[in-house]
Symmetry: C2
Subunit: 151 residues, 2 copies
């Protein structure tokens, strides 16, 4: 078997009662090498390149499973294209999407620990992760818009 160095998530898979199959480990590896954002189309290509024996359906079954386990979350980055899956390394992820050029700017801090705790207590829920998306204009598009407005 090839080198699959992703202890933690594979462990979580096994602990939840799922088999550590080649398809699952390969998809996991491709996701983890994606740098945080990957579309289903790109994922299909890369998984197929890594191991042509893995079928398309299995890749989609992995995406389902990993979403249910909060490893990833599908979201729409480019409008009306195939979904983009974002990795949620510690159960959460945050980014800004530019409405003009679709650039994605990531940031780390969210200061949502207090809100998480408050919601869990008030609503009697157990929270395992979150996704925070801001929408607006990136620096470049702010400048362009200002220039356009001047003309």
């Amino acid at each position: 078997m090839p080198d699959h160095a992703h202890g933690s998530r594979a462990d979580r898979l096994r602990d939840a009662g799922y088999k550590l199959t080649n398809a699952r480990l390969t998809v996991l590896q491709v996701l983890e090498q994606s740098g945080g954002h990957i579309t289903s189309t790109e994922l299909l290509e890369r998984v197929s390149a890594a191991d042509p024996a893995i079928g398309r359906a299995s890749v989609f079954r992995c995406l389902d499973l990993f979403t249910r386990l909060s490893f990833i979350r599908p979201t729409y980055i480019d409008n009306n294209v195939t979904p983009t899956y974002v990795l949620m390394p510690d159960g959460h992820h945050h980014h800004i999407i530019c409405n003009a050029c679709n650039r994605v700017i990531e940031f780390e801090e969210c200061h949502l620990e207090a809100l998480t705790k408050e919601l869990e207590e008030r609503l009697h829920v157990k929270l395992t992760g979150h996704l925070l998306e801001f929408y607006g204009l990136c620096e470049n598009c702010c400048i362009e818009k200002a220039v356009t407005a001047d003309e």
Copy 2:
């Protein structure tokens, strides 16, 4: 023309240079009557019921446009189903999605004003809205899981 009582958003449409067509006003009305969440399939049905002359393609074109204008945001609530569009009344929206039963619990407060301001200053961006999604287990599913674990 029927009663289209949605001043603010229609105004924003016009101000951005878009024509106030029957298709757009009807889709806007259906979205605003949706209570905050609606799938593209449901939307198509309701628009068609409201005015059978409106074509499917126009509805999708509206969804695109309204997303670009930050009136709505597509998201995946049920895993792997048609996208759900959430209304962002004041540019933002927040909810909790139960990973077990897919129930959506909305909440109002997010305390993100300070973070918004900080990001705008630090990254030189202009932010117009945000979506915050928490994932986890709702009260019912927490209880069920506890019961199951006891058996």
